[in-house]
């Protein structure tokens, strides 16, 4: 009888199918790729609006012809409000050349575009970008990689930190009219602090009300002679970070006047530097002090726990990545961590981490359970579909405005040997972007194929900035493709109801300065509360819109907004009317009668 069964089993052709049939119709998927397909997923749509937007920026990174590592690491973009008029403007970092003496500026410089929206025949306001690089003096010349945004001197205007190879620059925004380069004056131009910086994050490390800066640095890259690396075929290929010595990250502490002292060696303590590519600042353990998560390439990630609340004197950080569960993946292996998206993806009012990775690895979803994290890449459905691609920039979005966070990633290969398909982009490293929809319980299904042709386009995409460029209550995307025109992807998904969203800006008492790190808990009657945080960091080498967006679905009764400010203060605000942006200023809410909790 067994022999007959065996024969029949083999005759079926594919044992896998037979086994699945034996289970009674197919496997139960832990990652519910098919089961979770939402009815409204097909309506989600992003459209490429670059042509009509006025953007004509191309990131040019020298060294690609010689397969030099820096050519595949940049660049980023920043969506920020230059002059405080409520519209997002756009800054692009520019790459450079690799000369024999080191990295240098190329023929093109960084570019700044002012958003001068126009109203179309349909009554809709659309973003129009005008190049104001020359008059704003924003065209900083260096081999640029990434950018961070924050108001370092408290004057109400957003300043820029441009991270680069060989040098980085701090650009002070002068009254929204132009920039002045103040790196040396601000204490950020020491020779030993140059290196290769990719990403940075402004945050308030010591709760003194001003913005400090963390700079993730990569590797000590020698140009002369350039190191040759090879694929298994023995053909030349780009090097990975393992070939080089990692550089120490930098922690600039603001003296209170917009000048800084670099205190990484002291405040981060003795540790082994790793090749850092991404960084986010957030209070990940809920103790009221802002921690730092640093994505390291091919090495264990760092989680710097801010000990400010546990010590007297100046704050210090302790590295707790391994013990917290975010240093490596579930299997115990460090991955090529690059981009980071931080947000409450499963609605438990704790911010989770999504870290993007190399082809052959999955993107990793670390679910936060109060400072301890669990790798849920498989269970969330975010892991397996990402395995073929080298993802860089990433952001949580909510195109269906149902209140739960969906995910975007953009990708580009870093090895000629690993490119899937036949890329047509100039570097030959092109890969597609991906869009994942959340089913409301922290389980995701990839819907790229349903959401417009922009997701099928292959490019060498690294930087991704997210922001509401047309102020219509959703997050649009700016994608930086190496050696090709940067793209503006507008979220054109249908709106379930005009009041299906609420936008908040969390500011200081003046109403002019974003309070990076402040969180807002939106309480709703008959629906779970939603948590969002004001931040411009994350993704890869880029800075995003710090405003908070809440998707409200088909209409929900709003109860209150509870804000936790970076200095530890907490306030209640009555809910602003939905369907618009509102500004909540620190000090203008009500102190809660009882301590606020983040529990639903």
């Amino acid at each position: 009888m067994f022999a007959a069964d065996l024969t029949r089993f083999r005759a079926a052709g594919v044992a896998r199918i037979a086994l699945l049939l034996a289970l009674g119709g197919g496997p139960q998927l832990l990652a519910p790729a098919a089961a979770a397909q939402p009815a409204t997923a097909a309506a989600i749509r992003f459209e490429d609006a670059t042509g009509e937007s006025g953007l004509d920026f191309v990131y040019r990174a020298g060294g690609a012809a010689e397969l030099q590592l820096p050519a595949i690491m940049g660049g980023g973009a920043a969506l920020f409000d230059l002059e405080g008029d409520g519209d997002l403007d756009l800054f692009f970092v520019q790459g450079g050349r690799l000369g024999p003496a080191g990295p240098e500026a190329g023929a093109d410089a960084a570019r700044l575009y002012r958003n001068d929206p126009v109203t179309g025949a349909d009554g809709r306001r659309r973003a129009r970008f005008v190049d104001i690089t020359r008059e704003s003096a924003a065209g900083v010349a260096l081999y640029g990689m990434g950018v961070a945004t924050g108001d370092v001197d408290g004057d109400g205007f957003v300043d820029l930190f441009v991270a680069g190879f060989g040098a980085s620059r701090l650009l002070r925004n002068v009254a929204g009219t132009h920039f002045e380069e103040i790196s040396a004056r601000a204490g950020m131009a020491a020779a030993g602090e140059a290196g290769m910086a990719i990403s940075a994050a402004f945050f308030d490390a010591d709760r003194d009300g001003d913005l400090d800066l963390f700079v993730a640095r990569y590797v000590d890259y020698p140009l002369d002679p350039a190191l040759a690396c090879f694929a298994p075929s023995s053909r030349r290929d780009y090097c990975g970070p393992q070939a080089f010595r990692p550089q120490r990250d930098l922690l600039y502490i603001n003296r209170g006047d917009g000048t800084f002292t670099e205190e990484g060696a002291v405040r981060l303590g003795k540790h082994r530097p790793q090749p850092g590519l991404g960084v986010v600042a957030a209070d990940l353990d809920g103790d009221g002090w802002v921690d730092l998560f640093v994505a390291n390439d091919g090495q264990p990630n760092h989680l710097w726990r801010n000990l400010g609340g546990a010590r007297s004197g100046p704050p210090a950080f302790a590295e707790v990545g391994l013990a917290s569960g975010v240093a490596v993946n579930r299997s115990g292996l460090p991955e090529a961590s690059m981009g980071i998206a931080i947000g409450d993806a499963d609605g438990d009012l704790l911010e989770d981490l999504l870290v993007t990775h190399l082809t052959g690895e999955t993107n990793t979803f670390y679910r936060n359970s109060g400072g301890l994290f669990d790798d849920r890449s498989l269970a969330s459905g975010l892991g397996p579909p990402s395995r073929p691609w080298t993802s860089f920039g990433t952001a949580w979005v909510d195109p269906d405005r149902d209140g739960d966070l969906d995910l975007v990633t953009v990708a580009g290969a870093v090895r000629l040997a690993e490119v899937g398909g036949q890329p047509q982009d100039p570097l030959g490293l092109g890969q597609p972007a991906q869009l994942f929809r959340n089913d409301g319980r922290g389980r995701f299904a990839e819907i790229s194929a349903l959401a417009g042709p922009v997701w099928a386009r292959r490019a060498t995409s690294h930087g991704l900035a997210a922001g509401d460029v047309d102020n219509d209550g959703d997050l649009d995307l700016v994608v930086v493709d190496t050696a090709e025109r940067a793209r503006l992807l507008l979220d054109e998904s249908p709106v379930p109801a005009p009041a299906a969203w609420l936008g908040l800006r969390l500011t200081d008492a003046s109403g002019r300065r974003d309070q990076l790190g402040a969180t807002a808990l939106l309480r709703r009657r008959g629906a779970p509360p939603l948590l969002r945080r004001a931040h411009s960091d994350g993704s890869y080498a880029s800075a995003s819109d710090p405003r908070l967006l809440f998707g409200l679905g088909g209409g929900v009764d709003l109860e209150a907004v509870e804000v936790s400010w970076p200095d530890g203060r907490r306030e209640h605000f009555p809910p602003p009317p939905p369907g618009a942006y509102a500004t909540l200023r620190e000090g203008q809410g009500q102190e809660p009668a009882a301590p606020l909790t983040v529990s639903p």
Binding site: G13, R16, L19, S233, A323, R330, S331, A379, P384, P388
Partner: protein
């Protein structure tokens, strides 16, 4: 009969049919080939040779010449399919050994079409598809290999891929078959332990991973999931102890067919890369072996010699540390 009963029976008879793990590569089955028109075969995307190490160029040129001669001698229409399949398979191994995955995949696919009962070609094709991150196709290829002949490494590979894809129940069935055959295989225990941890069966994960580590004490990667499992059951001290031991060295599953591919490697570069990867992972003995191979191909190379010395020093230091 219940589903579980059916699964258990299936496990028993499949286990009985499996060859023992760790045995040399099973011989190819007797020729049972299809009469295919050459038009039914896929064109091999021949890689550009420029820029390759001379030894690799030479091997590929020789491989091409050998393939042409074999095809000429065994015209497919005349019933020479087995010979042609073997030629495709050999060329596929050569491409595979040097990372030309598209060419290797096509060769193995053609070989598998020509020799429809030969399990080797779909299995090797599965390995290449894994390199290309085509997991679903790889799982199907391993399943096809297993259907042709119950080759244990194909079963284990398929189980791992199904698990990585989130098809946990499918993986569980395959792992049950594998367990019935080789209950103490450390590679299997590691997969089972990972799955138990993934699904919250932490006590079981601890038992399985501890057994895997006993069988393969150098597999430092396993300390991490073990630490997670201990933490989940509230044993913080054990969790901390295993976290402190966590490393990157995994268990390489026994797979004689894969070893045959490795044996086709020529030149220094491919071994040098393997050595560097092993060293990065903390597997000094593997790094030493790989750098020695690289030096055989390029004797006297000062960089290779330096890397070998570094790996030897690391290996010796680890040996000293491990002494009782």
């Amino acid at each position: 009969m219940t589903l579980l009963g059916a699964m258990a029976l299936m496990a028993l008879w499949l286990a009985a049919a499996l060859p023992q793990a760790g045995s040399p590569a099973p011989p190819a089955p007797p020729a049972a080939t299809a009469r295919l028109s050459p038009a039914a075969l896929r064109a091999v995307p021949w890689p550009e040779l420029a820029g390759l190490e001379p030894a690799v160029q030479e091997a590929l040129q020789q491989g091409s010449a050998g393939f042409t001669a074999a095809v000429a001698a065994g015209a497919v229409e005349a019933g020479g399919g087995a010979q042609v399949a073997e030629a495709y398979g050999e060329l596929g191994r050569l491409f595979h050994a040097h990372g030309f995955s598209a060419a290797a995949e096509t060769c193995y696919d053609n070989a598998g079409r020509l020799a429809r009962e030969d399990f080797r070609w779909p299995h090797l094709r599965g390995l290449v598809l894994l390199d290309e991150q085509r997991s679903e196709a790889a799982a199907a290829a391993f399943a096809e290999a297993f259907a042709r002949r119950p080759y244990y490494p194909a079963l284990l590979r398929q189980a791992r891929v199904e698990q990585e894809l989130g098809h946990l129940e499918a993986a569980q069935v395959l792992l049950a078959v594998a367990t019935a055959h080789s209950p103490n295989d450390p590679a299997l225990l590691a997969v089972l332990g990972d799955q138990a941890g993934l699904t919250g069966r932490n006590a079981e994960a601890i038992e399985l991973l501890e057994r895997a580590l006993q069988a393969a004490p150098g597999a430092t990667r396993l300390h991490y999931p073990l630490a997670l499992a201990y933490r989940a059951v509230g044993n913080g001290a054990a969790a901390d102890a295993h976290l402190a031991l966590a490393g990157r060295v995994g268990i390489v599953p026994l797979d004689p067919l894969e070893n045959e591919v490795r044996s086709r490697r020529v030149g220094a570069t491919v071994w040098d890369l393997e050595g560097q990867r092993a060293l990065q992972a903390g597997d000094a003995p593997a790094a030493v072996k790989a750098f020695r191979k690289a030096l055989e191909a390029r004797p006297g190379d000062p960089e290779l010699r330096a890397r070998l010395s570094a790996a030897e020093r690391t290996d010796a230091a680890a040996f000293e540390t491990a002494k009782p």
